[in-house]
């Protein structure tokens, strides 16, 4: 399933809520958490990460991974955390509204 416009960024923020992660890890997290519904295309993921860096919602840092490999880890900034809260509530309202419209009986 393709990402809706603008959803990838909030999902990235969400994936970094618990702990910093690298690009591959973020991709894996999103695929697993969505029950493999989302396919993360690197052509979207990398540019999105760059955009988030630009907005200063993330910072990046080279660190050693658990298997002792150098990797670039992304971490939420306070600004990014605030953004995640706002965006999450917005998307939640959106999802509720969507399902109301799509299945009015339910």
């Amino acid at each position: 399933m393709e990402f809706l416009q603008g959803t990838l960024e909030v999902l990235i923020l969400r994936s970094l809520q618990a702990e910093p992660n690298h690009a591959y890890g973020i991709g894996q997290f999103l695929e697993q958490q969505s029950g493999n519904e989302f396919v993360v295309d690197n052509g979207s993921l990398y540019p999105a990460l760059q955009r988030l860096l630009q907005r200063r919602w993330l910072t990046a840092q080279w660190k050693m991974s658990p298997n002792a490999r150098r990797a670039r880890y992304y971490r939420l900034t306070p600004l990014g955390r605030k953004q995640l809260v706002e965006e999450s509530s917005k998307w939640q309202r959106f999802v509720v509204a969507m399902s109301r419209v799509l299945s009015p009986e339910g």
């Binding site: 690298h22 690009a23 591959y24 890890g25 894996q28 295309d41 690197n42 052509g43 990398y46 540019p47 990460l49 760059q50 955009r51 630009q54 907005r55 200063r56 991974s65 298997n67 490999r69 150098r70 990797a71 670039r72």
Partner: protein
């Protein structure tokens, strides 16, 4: 905003850092993925391959991620420009041809435009020059000078002018400063300087107090005259100059300014005109005025007309029917070159169109050859829009290089053009490639690049991936549509070339006709010069007569002189004085319909000397004395107008018409027509009077020599100076030269247009050759098949040639339509042949067809020699 700033800073810091970090990041993630694949039990190779395939197109990912940091559209534009240059280097021959074609088109247009801009478009360098107008008197038929009397009424009673001055040219002999010198000055009223915004370099310009009867004689020098003749003497103010024997005190030197009329000095007109002068006394004065803001030319004319009507009531006379006629100063100055320059500009635009068609065809052929490259780019992810943008940028890049070369070419060409141009084109000498011209060059370059690139790009956008990749270049773009388009280009080129060839043919034939036209006299070995006797030294008509009679008899005695005579106005000098007349015994003309003819004075034997045929009666001889009966010789045009089928001899002409004072002349002879306004003019009605009865202090001396005229010049000059050493000989030279010089502008226009036609022919030939070659290449299999099925090579040759011929014919047919329209634009420049001259049209058609055919020969020959076996084998 802050985001933009970050981006910009990152962009400035250099993309390299970001790119390297990204590459490293991607590499490390790929490793991590590979490792996790191994952990899931894959072999290392499998793991790596799976990770790579899962990762996707890493180049594209890197590019897209990087683009977040930069300004992708700008960068891809810069990239396209780089591709453009790379593409140019890859196909040098193609690029050189395209660049040269653009350079030619842009260069020719830029050069001509810079002239049009400098001469026609730039406002005159005067304050509010767009409101400067020139006014004269006029009746229903023609316009003439304004009299001092009427001018004074105009100046005082008008409601539409902010300012008004009068001016009049004068020629005076300067003495007391080296050799006597004929100088050209201008009599102006004081506001003249203000109207043109003139300032003084030294001293002051004269003002109202100097410009009235009785004031001291003052003069303002033009800076050029001051520099060249007076050596830029810094103490000139207060010095005295003697003109025609009268001393003038120099009040100042005018600062340099581009003046519409080149003169050596200015004299006060109000001072020279004296007190009250009658309303009917015409000199050669004109009025220069600045309209009040918002006043139209028509309103100003109505205003002056009302004044003239009022004057007609209170002071009736021969002037009663006179009104005013005015034009803007700009038009007045540039009016007669406007047509010529616009024709040249039009021709230049045609060249540019041909160049565009040529480049379009070249690009078409090349893009087709590049079809596989384009298909490949499409296959690795370039969008159609991206591809189209790249092609357009490439075209614009190559056009820009061509345009730059074109500007250089124009810069150089312009110097050449100014060099060969006749000197009478105002403001031409100051023409430069300035900012506006450069903007124009940029504009047409861009337009030409887009125009030429549009069609090929449209075709390229439609490239069918699979066909192009599989079959290579040959098939792509060779479709029916592309073919029709290419045929259209050939047709357009042929048509445009035909129009240029036809136009230049018309001008060439006009030039030949003008050069061969019978001037009405025999100019061979005739020397001429002008003399002006100063009134101070030659006070009476008798003194003037005595001088000229003496000079002519001296010249007759000179060895090597066949004959000598004098006339008041040389053939080719145009109108040195026209005046009203009427024919006795004919119904009186209305006041504003009194006919006008050129009036000329000629010495006895003038017609014999010039070998102007006498058709009826006799010419002037020694019996036509001042005291004798007043006689005239009229030209054939005059005789044909009034006495078409009868003898003109003995008829009577009233000088000045029924409403002005003047002698009554008896016609004693009819002479052949002389082309008074130059070789490429039509004769006009002309009345000659014997010099003894109507004498002028300024005359042209004409001398026919036995041998080389130049060898007699020193002796002739000595004879004149022996009689009066204060007399300068002006315009001393042969009549043949001065007649030829009168054709300078025609020669210039013809030269340029012929040059343009030549360029067009070369361009069109290249274009036709290129397109036909391409046509043959794309049809090789078809040709091979035909040959294999039994068609003879000569049949193929005919088939190919017929194709070329058909296109050329359609082109010529369209060109004839265009030529018809072009002939109208050229009407004023055509002489001696009808503008829609069918012979010229046929000649142009034949020339263009021949070129088309010649350009088609090689491709056609190649078509006939297609190697059947090889071709069919490979298809």
């Amino acid at each position: 905003m802050r985001q933009w700033l970050t981006r910009f800073r990152a962009w400035m810091k250099g993309r390299r850092g970001i790119a390297e970090e990204l590459a490293e990041e991607m590499r490390s993630n790929l490793e991590i993925e590979t490792e996790s694949n191994i952990e899931r039990g894959m072999s290392p190779e499998q793991a790596r391959a799976a990770a790579r395939s899962h990762f996707g197109n890493s180049t594209l990912v890197a590019e897209q991620a990087r683009d977040v940091w930069g300004f992708p559209s700008l960068e891809s534009f810069l990239n396209d420009i780089r591709y453009g240059f790379r593409a140019m280097r890859r196909a040098p021959a193609f690029s050189v041809v395209v660049i040269l074609t653009f350079a030619l088109g842009v260069g020719v247009n830029t050069a001509i435009f810079s002239v049009v801009h400098a001469v026609l478009m730039k406002p005159l360098p005067y304050p509010e020059s767009e409101r400067l107008v020139r006014f004269r008197e006029a009746n229903a038929k023609s316009s003439f000078s304004v009299t001092w009397g009427n001018f004074k009424y105009w100046r005082e009673s008008n409601h539409t002018f902010a300012d008004m001055a009068a001016y009049q040219f004068t020629e005076r002999t300067l003495t007391g400063r080296g050799d006597p010198l004929v100088t050209r000055g201008m009599l102006v009223t004081a506001p003249y300087f203000r109207l043109l915004g003139m300032h003084s370099l030294l001293g002051r310009l004269f003002d109202q107090s100097d410009d009235q009867p009785g004031a001291a004689a003052t003069i303002v020098l033009d800076h050029r005259f001051w520099e060249s003749r007076l050596g830029g003497d810094p103490n000139v103010v207060g010095a005295t100059l003697t003109l025609n024997g009268t001393p003038y005190e120099v009040t100042g030197v005018a600062a340099p300014l581009w003046e519409p009329w080149l003169v050596d000095y200015y004299l006060p007109l109000g001072w020279a005109a004296g007190p009250a002068v009658g309303r009917q006394q015409h000199g050669s004065m004109s009025a220069l005025g600045r309209l009040k803001p918002g006043v139209s030319l028509a309103a100003a004319r109505a205003d002056l007309d009302a004044i003239m009507r009022h004057l007609a009531e209170v002071d009736p006379g021969p002037e009663s029917e006179h009104r005013s006629s005015g034009s803007f100063l700009t038009e007045n100055i540039t009016g007669n070159v406007r047509g010529t320059l616009l024709v040249l500009m039009g021709a230049a635009v045609l060249i540019l169109l041909i160049a565009c068609a040529n480049v379009a065809s070249l690009l078409l052929a090349r893009n087709t050859a590049r079809a596989s490259e384009l298909a490949l780019r499409k296959a690795i992810g370039a969008g159609r829009l991206r591809l189209v943008r790249q092609l357009i940028t490439e075209n614009v890049v190559i056009a820009a290089v061509g345009g730059a070369a074109g500007v250089a070419f124009a810069y150089w060409g312009l110097r050449l053009l100014i060099g060969v141009a006749p000197s009478d084109i105002p403001r031409l000498a100051g023409t430069t490639v300035d900012l506006q011209v450069l903007l124009f060059a940029c504009g047409i370059t861009l337009a030409a690049g887009l125009l030429a690139g549009l069609a090929p790009v449209m075709v390229a956008g439609k490239i069918d991936l699979t066909t192009a990749l599989k079959e290579g270049a040959r098939m792509a773009g060779g479709g029916r549509q592309g073919q029709a388009f290419r045929n259209g280009l050939v047709i357009a080129e042929v048509a445009l070339t035909f129009v240029l060839a036809f136009g230049s043919g018309l001008l060439l034939r006009s030039l030949i006709a003008a050069q061969r036209s019978n001037p009405g006299f025999d100019p061979q070995r005739v020397l001429s010069f002008l003399l002006g006797l100063p009134s101070k030294a030659y006070k009476t008509p008798e003194a003037v007569s005595a001088f000229y009679t003496g000079l002519l008899s001296d010249l007759h005695k000179l060895p090597g002189v066949v004959d000598a005579s004098s006339v008041s106005c040389l053939p080719g000098d145009g109108d040195c004085g026209d005046w009203f007349y009427s024919i006795s015994g004919r119904p009186l003309p209305l006041q504003n319909e009194v006919p006008i003819a050129l009036f000329d004075s000629a010495a006895a034997g003038y017609f014999r000397m010039m070998r102007i045929p006498i058709l009826q009666g006799r010419e002037f001889n020694q019996t036509d004395l001042a005291a004798g009966p007043k006689v005239a010789v009229v030209n054939e045009a005059m005789a044909r107008r009034w006495w078409p089928n009868e003898s003109a001899i003995g008829r009577q002409i009233k000088v000045g018409g029924p409403y002005q004072k003047g002698d009554t002349l008896e016609v004693v002879g009819v002479s052949g027509d002389v082309r008074q306004f130059g070789l490429d003019s039509q004769p006009v009605t002309e009345i000659y009077r014997p010099a003894a009865q109507q004498n002028y202090s300024a005359m042209a001396i004409v001398i026919r020599t036995a041998g080389n005229p130049a060898s007699l010049m020193t002796a002739i000059r000595a004879r004149v100076l022996a009689l009066d050493r204060n007399l300068p000989l002006q315009r001393f030279g042969t009549l043949e030269e001065s007649l030829g010089a009168g054709l300078a502008r025609r020669r210039f226009t013809t030269l340029l247009l012929t040059l343009f036609a030549g360029l067009a022919v070369v361009l069109a030939a290249i274009g036709i050759y290129g397109l036909l070659s391409y046509w043959v290449t794309s049809r090789e299999s078809e040709i091979a098949l035909r040959l294999a099925l039994g068609a003879s090579p000569s049949r193929i040759l005919r088939w190919t040639s017929f194709h070329a011929l058909r296109l050329a014919l359609i082109g010529v047919a369209l060109g004839v339509v265009g030529g018809w329209a072009a002939a109208r634009a050229l009407e004023d420049l055509v002489f001696g042949i009808p503008p829609r001259n069918p012979a010229t049209m046929i000649a142009a058609a034949l020339a263009v067809m021949t070129i088309a055919f010649a350009a088609a020969v090689v491709p056609a020959w190649r078509a006939a020699r297609v190697d059947v076996a090889r071709r069919l084998h490979y298809t």
